[in-house]
């Protein structure tokens, strides 16, 4: 069953017949639009909605006065955002008012008629400015919103053991998720006051909780329905204000309300990856063994709190990845009057690994050792070293690195390596990483898996169907996957932390095993033998001891349902009892909220990878291309090679963009490239020739030996590319994205910015 199986929803997707939330219409539906702040920082003096309200076709206009004024935060303890701004706006795009109208055009016109009187305030646009004592305050507390620390060992001792030190600063940028389906939701209230929220979400059950908090509704009155979604990547983990706003508009006008982000709203307001400024100081022995790593991370929180603490929490995986005995990470998230940030594939690891894997190469250079040796010396696990060896052999790294004659008059060529680690099972920092599933076997032998898994285009449903089919011993065609509704599915945290195959795979396997008992019980009666003798293979149930006794899966199912009057239903769960929530530090914290991650393993299972990139740099234009790329991935057993390869290539595509050209650019708090014309992602013509090697083995922690890999391969790309560029040009670039302009001027020796090349 674990072969190259195309997506179950594949035909629907390529023929355009699959219905996404954006495609849906509901009887009586009207359209909502949001009025957003044009200023990065301003007081709201007054709002006059009278003209908008009287426009024909306008059914509702709401402002903060029409809400309960609750503040919202993904962690309620750090709530800082009102659904609609009441006194202040804090970024360009902040939600100020909303309109429901019979057409989108009327709604847009109504927005233009809402008169908001702003008193502009000086904005804070930079994390350094924000931390100055006289900086304007954005919220009722200081601008350092959140901070924390984690690590192991004693940095002082570790540094004392060192022969020498290396220090450097690295910087990464805001990256947009670029989901093909913009955020979209339809809010509808039924006659008994239940809210049905049909929406683009990766986390339906927590969204339910979020809406319940924001609207002061019991959870039982909120139902979240989630159709197939056109991408997530971490953008849809936390509610955007679309959902509560649509709900309030629908309540007010008595009609279902649909709100869809425009593409500009997606780029400018839907939240980006957290940009990191990373300071790394390493203490090392002359043989290349690192004795201490002291790391400081400062990140732009944007205007409101979001997944920041979880993003920082994910970087704890570096403790699993490097053998360095003393590691200390101090992090802080600083408010600015700019678009907030959220989780994005890899969470904090693409940022951190750009810094650390670049740093390892800088260390290697300083010590005149090769980058492979440095990595072998400092990697934590055999699995990491195996990934390194695989990718070094596949790419011919040692033969190509630093060799004369590679480059021509025009093109400089280089090769670079980087490694990383990722959760393969979901993280434990939320204090919960469990789920349940049900397997229903119909009277005709077809099987329905009812799962809380959210498939955001990751192929989750396909892999889960494979697991169920494998467990039951039946062809894949028998299996359907259902769910998509919080009324039916078991409580679950959603699609994040590469957990779906792992958590939902275990739950589905357990549910299938449970259902199998019912099938075998019926078969044993049919065949008059003991259930212990029976096995199911390719839909045929046969006795191991008596060749003559055989029947089909369908027959057994029918017999159970119609003759034995026993419906076959299995249930199963996966429980991670080691999940311990991150929490706020107790005691007087002053202006900044301290977050604590509990000790213990960050994740139940991790994935490992290593990657090598070859680059070509045009000497006279600085233009960079990546013609070839090798990835070695260890995710245990690969349950669907097509899906696993797809996830790897997709991750690499986003990694290349991250390394070389993706950046949400802000000027005076305004996003100046909120369109596909000006924000470029890798197209087919930008992609390298990619070779992926899966280092397969049974990982007993995962269902059928497999663990998740959805995020893994994006993490090392930027460092592999930066290391290759350094090999090609001799110049170390420590800030992303690495642009041709910086490369060209550095090559010509006339670059001004020497410290953050």
């Amino acid at each position: 069953m674990f072969t190259e199986i195309p997506r179950l929803e594949g035909v629907g997707k390529v023929t355009g017949s699959l219905r996404y939330t954006s495609d849906l219409e509901v009887t009586g539906m009207v359209h909502g639009k949001i009025l957003r702040s044009p200023h990065p920082h301003a007081k709201i003096v007054s709002i006059d909605k009278s003209e908008a309200s009287s426009l024909p076709g306008v059914l509702a206009v709401i402002t903060a006065a029409d809400t309960n004024r609750n503040k919202f935060g993904f962690m309620q303890e750090i709530a800082d955002k009102q659904i609609l701004c009441e006194n202040k706006v804090r970024f360009v795009g902040d939600e100020v008012a909303a309109v429901a109208a019979t057409t989108i055009e009327i709604a847009e016109e109504a927005l233009n008629c809402i008169k908001v009187d702003y008193e502009v305030l000086p904005p804070v646009l930079d994390v350094n400015e924000a931390q100055k004592p006289d900086a304007p305050r954005m919220h009722d507390k200081g601008n350092v919103a959140l901070s924390g620390q984690f690590g192991r060992g004693s940095i002082l001792e570790g540094m004392r053991e060192a022969d020498d030190f290396l220090e450097a600063d690295y910087e990464t940028q805001r990256q947009a998720h670029v989901c093909f389906e913009p955020r979209c939701c339809i809010a509808e209230w039924d006659a008994t006051g239940n809210l049905i929220m049909t929406t683009t979400t990766q986390t339906p059950h927590t969204l339910r909780q979020e809406i319940s908090r924001m609207l002061d509704l019991p959870i039982s009155k909120v139902r979240v329905v989630y159709p197939p979604m056109g991408g997530g990547f971490g953008n849809r983990l936390v509610t955007s204000m679309l959902e509560p706003i649509a709900a309030l508009l629908a309540l007010r006008c008595g009609r279902p309300v649909k709100i869809t982000n425009t593409r500009e709203e997606e780029f400018a307001t839907a939240r980006t990856r957290y940009p990191f400024k990373v300071h790394v100081k390493s203490g090392y022995k002359s043989d290349g063994t690192i004795t201490a790593l002291d790391i400081t991370v400062v990140s732009d929180n944007g205007a409101y709190n979001d997944k920041g603490p979880a993003v920082m929490g994910a970087t704890r995986l570096i403790l699993n990845h490097y053998s360095v005995p003393c590691i200390n990470v101090n992090w802080k998230l600083v408010y600015t009057n700019q678009q907030p940030c959220t989780g994005f594939r890899g969470f904090g690891l693409p940022q951190m690994q750009f810094a650390l894997e670049s740093h390892l190469d800088e260390l290697a250079e300083k010590l005149h050792k090769d980058p492979i040796e440095i990595r072998m010396k400092n990697s934590a696990e055999e699995a990491d070293r195996k990934c390194i060896k695989t990718v070094v052999d596949a790419s011919g790294f040692m033969k190509k690195r630093g060799k004369e004659g590679r480059s021509s008059d025009i093109i400089l060529r280089g090769i670079g390596i980087a490694t990383s680690v990722s959760s393969g099972s979901g993280t434990r920092i939320y204090g919960h990483n469990s789920s349940g599933a049900m397997v229903k076997i119909s009277e005709d032998g077809t099987v329905t898996l009812i799962t809380a898994a959210v498939d955001l285009g990751t192929g989750a449903e396909t892999v889960l169907a494979q697991i169920v089919a494998e467990t039951l011993g039946i062809p894949l065609e028998f299996v359907h996957v259902a769910g998509r509704d919080t009324n039916i599915t078991s409580f679950d945290l959603g699609a994040l932390g590469s957990r779906t195959t792992f958590v939902h795979g275990w739950a589905a396997k357990a549910a299938a095993e449970d259902a199998k008992k019912g099938v075998l019980a019926a078969a044993s009666k049919l065949l008059d033998c003991d259930t212990k003798e029976l096995e199911i293979h390719r839909g045929i149930i046969s006795s191991r001891t008596n060749d003559g006794k055989r029947t089909s899966f369908e027959k057994a199912a029918r017999y159970s349902t119609t003759r034995l009057n026993t419906a076959i239903l299995g249930k199963g769960m996966y429980v991670d009892d080691k999940a311990v929530s991150m929490s706020l530090a107790s005691g007087d914290m002053g202006e900044t909220t301290r977050i604590i991650f509990r000790e213990g393993e960050f994740a139940a299972a991790v994935g490992h990878c290593a990657a090598v990139a070859e680059v070509e740099v045009d000497k006279s234009t600085g233009r960079i291309t990546v013609p070839r790329y090798w990835a070695a991935v260890d995710c245990g057993r690969v349950l669907n090679p097509l899906g696993a390869r797809g996830q790897t290539i997709g991750s690499i595509a986003q990694g290349i963009g991250y390394a070389l050209f993706e950046e949400i650019t802000l000027r005076d708090g305004q996003v100046i490239n909120p369109t596909f014309v000006d924000y470029k992602i890798a197209s087919m013509n930008d992609m390298p020739e990619i070779n992926v090697a899966f280092i397969e083995h049974d990982d007993p922690r995962g269902p059928y030996g497999g663990v998740g890999l959805a995020e893994l391969s994006i993490e090392p790309v930027a460092a592999a590319v930066a290391n290759a560029i350094c090999d090609a040009t001799g110049i170390r670039f420590r800030r992303l994205p690495i642009s041709p302009e910086r490369v060209l001027f550095a090559l010509k020796g006339s670059s001004g910015d020497q410290s953050l090349k």
Binding site: S620, T621, G622, D678, S683
Partner: protein, 262 residues
């Protein structure tokens, strides 16, 4: 225009479909050159056999416009009238000494393509006027043109610079008799680097350091602006290099043609 309407920049009360006007869909070739009606699509022009044989640089420029779906719908006239500096065609058309014919229904006037776009989204067209056709003169004997569209980061983005170099050799031998260097996309309009181009005359275009000198001189004849595709200093630097590459490429193709012919 559709793009400007979508962005809310243009909100006309009326739209008039001029696609079926027979005068505008002409694509005529005569000994004097090519006449391209304003409503000819990029795809039609790109596929016309005469283009690939006679105007290699124009074929290159056409092929690199957007993608095939856009080229099948977008017209040459519409592209020019848009007046966006990053368009490929004006650069190469100007290097080929093309002219734009503007009509107000009764009278016509002729403007060199080099001067057709005055500023960003601002062309020679006055209210009541229509771009009727583009006239591309026949390529003079022993001449060729090279077009380079330089996208600095990804394969599919607006160019940081477009460069077109047209050169002509003497009736015999390999001396350069005439040259035109046109740079587009870097600023608000096209730049004719004619001072730099003069330094190509009466040379054999084979001394790379001399060509680099020309590239250097050309940098002073352009007026780039800072945008998402590059800063002024980057664009200047890159143009110097691209001009050299365009000259070399045009020369080598021309020599191959001429050697075959002779």
């Amino acid at each position: 225009m559709v793009i400007l309407m979508k962005q809310g920049v243009l909100a006309p009360d009326y739209l008039v479909d001029i696609q079926r006007n027979p005068e505008l869909v002409n694509l005529k070739y005569s000994p004097k050159g090519v006449v391209v009606g304003a409503s000819v699509t990029h795809r039609e022009l790109e596929q016309w056999s005469g283009i690939k044989q006679r105007y290699v640089a124009l074929a290159t420029a056409l092929r690199k416009v957007g993608n095939i779906r856009i080229r099948s719908v977008g017209t040459i006239g519409g592209n020019l009238a848009y007046g966006e500096p990053q368009c490929n065609l004006p650069t190469v058309l100007a290097a080929l000494d093309s002219t734009a014919v503007i009509s107000n229904g009764s009278e016509e006037r002729v403007v060199p393509v080099l001067h057709f776009t005055k500023d960003i989204f601002d062309t020679e067209l006055k209210p009541g006027e229509l771009l009727k056709e583009i006239r591309i003169p026949e390529m003079p004997p022993r001449s060729d043109c090279e077009f380079i569209k330089f996208c600095s980061r990804t394969a599919e983005e607006k160019p940081a610079a477009t460069v077109a170099c047209w050169i002509q050799l003497e009736e015999e031998g390999l001396m350069c008799k005439a040259a035109r260097l046109v740079v587009g996309a870097v600023g608000s309009r096209l730049f004719d680097c004619n001072t730099a181009a003069k330094h190509l005359l009466n040379t054999q275009l084979d001394d790379e350091s001399e060509l680099r000198e020309v590239g250097e001189k050309a940098k002073n004849e352009i007026d780039p602006i800072d945008d998402l595709y590059g800063t002024t200093s980057y664009k200047r630097e890159v143009c110097g290099e691209l001009i050299v590459r365009a000259i070399i490429e045009a020369k080598e193709r021309l020599i191959r043609k001429v050697v075959d012919h002779d």
